[in-house]
């Protein structure tokens, strides 16, 4: 199974880049040209080509800002997610280059070079797709923010807010192994693509102590760059903040030390929560391998693991990526329906999930069972071993919901 993404200019059909993942042949130039040709031809006939289904693959086309064509080909990925993936890919192009440069670049070679800056981000976005090629330790989702729940999140939140006030910024978060443990209200007000790109921009880089990277926000600020500052407080725990020209990096670091040094033990406790991603107070039964808890309004999720099972079982049976597949294929398809809201003055189209269909759904396979249940704005998907009786799944799922939502210490 595999995924390809290609980028061309709308006007000239000049390829800017192409990336791929999986055990697949490389995409030849002639194939890229014909894929683009079909789209271009239909456009000249006033027809917009959106997608096509091959026996084992889906192809989707999308034009951005009347200047860039992105084409994705993938197997095992829903169209909805592929569409989100292309939005995120275009966002990644804007992130380091700015929309102006992309729209008005006279120099194609320079633009190609600029596009190379975001190639590791695009690779990470492809890792979020559900092409089932490898058992990765991390299961990420392209259109949602990955979170971690710890009993210390409230303390972190307070501390983060103090820190952000000093920076005179409203956009900040605390990352633990790449998962958001606490974030400001402003951070949640960013578009989900922006949130994803900002965290990937830091986590896809090799590790260093402090980053200060100029970034454009694809939705909020495509023309004016912010500074994305990331500081590693302790190994695997970072704070991310968007700020303006001031204060200087050294200043920010100095204040970060002041602000956080009295909370060393809190930071260490949160770090220990990974890879379980849950506070100690939430305990999972033996037949529960893990769960995916999604807030589909805010577009964030937590993947909770039962480490006890991980120890006792053969490697590979503990595949939390099954939950991602289940969520995309069953929950998003049947439980949720997309509502297109067109905002004509700003020319932005927001896709807001509105819950319509089923309230619960389940799936049984040879090795696993999955069960999903809705609770307010949340959807909980649980991965069970196949021994669990089908009718008890919902009881256990309810128990997990209760554990998470009745505990006042749990905040995310």
């Amino acid at each position: 199974m595999s995924v390809y993404v290609m980028c061309l200019t709308s006007s000239g059909g000049i390829p800017l880049f192409s990336r791929q993942k999986g055990d697949n042949d490389t995409m030849t130039f002639s194939k890229i040209a014909s894929l683009n040709g079909v789209h271009m031809f239909l456009k000249s006939q006033d027809i917009s080509l959106l997608s096509t289904d091959l026996s084992d693959m889906t192809v989707i086309w999308k034009e951005f800002e009347q200047c860039i064509i992105l084409i994705a080909i993938a197997s095992g990925v829903t169209k909805y997610i592929l569409d989100k993936f292309l939005d995120a890919t275009f966002g990644a192009m804007v992130l380091f280059t700015g929309i102006d440069e992309i729209k008005n670049s006279k120099n194609i070679e320079r633009l190609k070079k600029d596009m190379r800056l975001c190639s590791s981000i695009i690779d990470s976005l492809m890792d979020c797709l559900d092409i089932g090629d490898k058992i990765s330790t991390k299961t990420n989702i392209v259109n949602m923010t990955e979170c971690i729940i710890s009993s210390e999140n409230i303390l972190l939140q307070t501390c983060l807010e103090g820190f952000m006030e000093y920076l005179d910024s409203i956009y900040g978060c605390v990352l633990v192994h790449g998962c958001v443990a606490a974030a400001t209200e402003g951070w949640w007000s960013l578009d989900s693509v922006e949130r994803k790109l900002l965290t990937i921009a830091i986590t896809s880089e090799s590790i260093c102590t402090t980053y200060d990277i100029p970034v454009f926000l694809p939705c909020k600020s495509p023309n004016v760059a912010f500074r994305l500052v990331a500081i590693t407080l302790i190994n695997h725990v970072q704070i991310l903040a968007l700020c303006g020209p001031n204060p200087e990096l050294t200043e920010i670091e100095r204040f970060a030390v002041q602000c956080w040094k009295s909370n060393m033990d809190v930071l260490c406790t949160v770090e220990q929560c990974y890879p379980r991603n849950l506070p100690a107070s939430v305990s999972l039964d033996n037949e529960t391998l893990g769960f995916l808890l999604v807030n589909y309004k805010v577009e964030k999720f937590v993947l909770g693991r039962n480490l006890q099972c991980e120890k006792n079982r053969v490697i590979g049976s503990h595949r939390l990526d099954i939950l991602r597949t289940f969520y995309h294929q069953a929950v998003e398809m049947f439980g949720l329906s997309v509502e297109h809201k067109e905002n004509s003055d700003e020319k932005v189209i927001t896709n807001a999930w509105k819950f319509t269909g089923a309230k619960e759904t389940y799936l049984c396979s040879e090795y696993h069972k999955c069960h999903a249940v809705k609770h307010n704005d949340y959807i909980l998907c649980v991965l069970y071993t196949s021994v669990v009786p089908t009718h008890t799944m919902r009881l256990i799922s309810q128990k997990i919901l209760k554990m998470i939502f009745s505990d006042k210490q749990i905040y995310w």
């Binding site: 380091f96 102590t209 402090t210 980053y211 500081i231 407080l233 302790i234 190994n235 050294t250 030390v257």
Partner: protein, 235 residues
Amino acid sequence: MSAINMNWLASAEGESLVHHFYVNSSKKRRFYGILERPSLPTSIEEVTYKIFMIGRSGVGKTSVVGKLAGTLESNNYTETNGIRKTNVFWPVKIWDKIVLIKLQFWDTSENSIKKYSHILSACKDKVDAMCSVFSFDDASSFNDIPYLMNTMTATKEKPANIVIGTKFKPWSSCVIDDAQIKEFEDKWKVKVIKIDASKSSIRSEMFDCSYQLNAICNILWNRDKEFISKLMGQS
């Protein structure tokens, strides 16, 4: 003779401290956030230096820092975007005293400097050393070095000069030969620190770059000494 004992890490005393820098019992170096430091006895003094990495695009600045920090993961090249600052803790024995040196490497790229004005000033501010990097397989990057070193003498901190040559292959001929290096060293009174960042050996990784890190610390130490003796001379 250098004030820093270049082989100290391999001595019994050095070995007894090395494990503080590893992740648990592995031979992988531990990475420290800004709130952390190696758990050495607090009696050991810590000295911090800021080093700004300069040099043409693609010569290997980011790789060198990754190698010296023990965090280098891949040999894939992507141009550095913005500022990346990496702290490296390194224990040295200066005369008879153990000192924990904290090297702060500031790494960026020519393109970032060109595109965003705040980057150069942030990197140059209160800098202790300029580290000019060239690649042994690119003669023009070597010819740039005197010019790079000169751009810095203007800054008021009078930073020390460190020169690093990457992609060094001791057993095969390089585009830049020994005689050229010798001539350069005599003329500019700096020793070229040679490194092959992509090379990995079976030894624990920390010993792989101990020569280079000691050499860097030595240059910084000498600068401090000169600075102090100048101060004393004035008074």
